[in-house]
Symmetry: C2
């Protein structure tokens, strides 16, 4: 939630001179996105988001991310999409950072999604999964089971600094997931970070999906598990069954889930809970005093993990196989 | 440069329902203003800035600030101006904070102003000073000579933590200013914080002045001194004479400065340098580890102060009395 690089009026004017987007009329840093510098650019033609990619994004991944957004937009998915300059380039440089000009999406993210929002999210997620079926670029999920193992190794000895007993819980959960993690479910490109702040709504209708910077190749149903955790829990960390079933049923309307995918959901939700707990724990253990970015609480995901550990079948999510 | 208060989609929707400004289509926190939470709100009618006033603004001062902006706008000054709701109120509450909806000004602030920018700034400042002559509200300048004395008392013992010898310099400068500070120059409402980031330009023309939250009653020429320091110094802290004379001459074109005002400028510039050095030093000495706001360097103003201490007459600024 910050701007890491300052761009002067002269720099932005000469940058956009390479595009057919009119003249600058306003340019403001926005408090959006944890890892990059984002600006809202208004020109005589339209509004845009200008993103300068900061250190945590690997520049080698940018053609994949921008290519994916471009592909989705051409398939009619409502998503922010990169704008090319007059030479057809959408990946540029500004102030020494890789930079992309992105279309502006109307809408607002919703901090407390309701059942209807969850149903629409499910449909939009399925449509995105269908739309990427012929996208040809690939990106390995660095934060799947192998990545978790590395995080477990680096965190488990110090995890009890965060909560007593956490190291042991993580160690045992990692062993369970490694033994049981599904290997034969349908795969494709997943968003992998579709939290409520990455989904816009306008007049009660989903208006777009943003922030594709964790997208990667993985099991499609794992994307649903990430959404169940981030969209469907009550404040007391019990699952809101109405929201979870609305999300899964919404998805199912657009892309039919197999029995194997549905039955795997409780385990995928455990994996998704462990994944976000581990990255948050890593950030928490390695937090820098004075950093601009606030560390998120790893223990929220411990509560969700415990909830899913007690689930016997997907029917307990309100889902009928 | 941060958003301190999160406003949900529901909260913003019910807030703007009390205004005739159409429906929300986008709402984003912006990285602007050090002391308040600012959002860019787009509706079906127009663009606006929504400001939630945080702790450092005294709510008792808000009717003065909003009244001033409203007064200036009615006088044809290009400035952000508060929008009233259907009941005629422009000071409201949102998320427990005093809140105002402000018109959106096109334009960009310029980090490296040129001579032309300085000339336009001088003219705009004079026009603002003329426009407030019949504004009836008052606000004492808490950061004039009495306020500096309090800051000197609280900082001088520890000032050498920032730079060896600084405590002594501050002590002596305060004594000089107290003895010589002018008491009979024309007064009125001054902006008191007209740094380059508070002035917008569009296509090379000054398009507006923002951020009136330090405005107060004081000597009009003191506002020019603040601008000379923040607009007219070279990177090596020598004064850019072309910029300083353009600023003063631009001002003079719209509001004729008296010989007394011109002759007082070197001393007023010393006072303005001490004022910003002291508040920055106070923030620096009382900085909080992990704070979102970066502390500004007090020593920039020490360099400017030393420059002005060596000035014998205003002619050395390129200004003819």
């Amino acid at each position: 939630m910050a701007v890491y690089t300052n761009v002067s009026a002269d720099e932005i004017a000469s940058f956009i001179a390479e595009y057919d987007i009119g003249d600058v009329i306003s340019f403001k840093g926005i408090a959006e996105g944890v890892e990059n510098s984002n600006f809202l650019l208004s020109t005589t033609k339209d509004k845009y988001i200008l993103t300068l990619y900061e250190k945590r994004v690997n520049p080698k991944d940018l053609p994949f991310f921008l290519g994916l957004m471009d592909h989705l937009a051409h398939k009619g998915i409502n998503c922010a999409t990169p704008i090319a300059d007059r030479n057809g380039n959408n990946l540029k440089e500004l102030c020494g950072r890789p930079t992309a000009l992105i279309s502006f999406l109307n809408g607002l993210s919703i901090s407390r999604p309701n059942v209807q929002n969850c149903a629409q999210l499910g449909m939009a997620l399925a449509q995105m999964h269908l739309a990427v079926s012929d996208f040809t670029l690939m990106r390995k999920n660095d934060l799947s089971i192998e990545g978790w193992k590395r995080l477990v190794t680096s965190c488990e000895m110090r995890a009890d600094e965060c909560s007593v007993g956490l190291g042991n819980i993580i160690h045992r959960e990692m062993a369970t997931l490694q033994e049981n993690w599904p290997g034969n479910l349908p795969t494709g490109i997943i968003h992998a970070d579709l939290f409520p702040d990455n989904v816009f709504f306008l007049n009660g209708k989903l208006s777009g999906l943003i922030d594709y910077y964790f997208a990667c190749s993985d099991m499609l149903a794992y994307d649903i598990a990430i959404c169940i955790n981030s969209w469907c829990f009550n404040a007391d960390y019990s699952l809101n069954i109405a929201k979870a079933s609305a999300l899964v049923n919404g998805y199912n309307e657009k892309r039919q889930l197999s029995a194997a995918e549905l039955n795997a959901l409780p385990l995928l939700c455990r994996g998704a809970a462990l994944r976000f707990m581990l990255t948050r724990l890593y950030d928490w253990l390695n937090r820098v005093e004075g950093a601009l970015v606030k560390t998120k609480d790893p223990l929220e995901y411990l509560s969700m993990l415990k909830y899913h550990q007690n689930i016997k079948t997907v029917a307990e999510y309100g889902v009928i196989v």
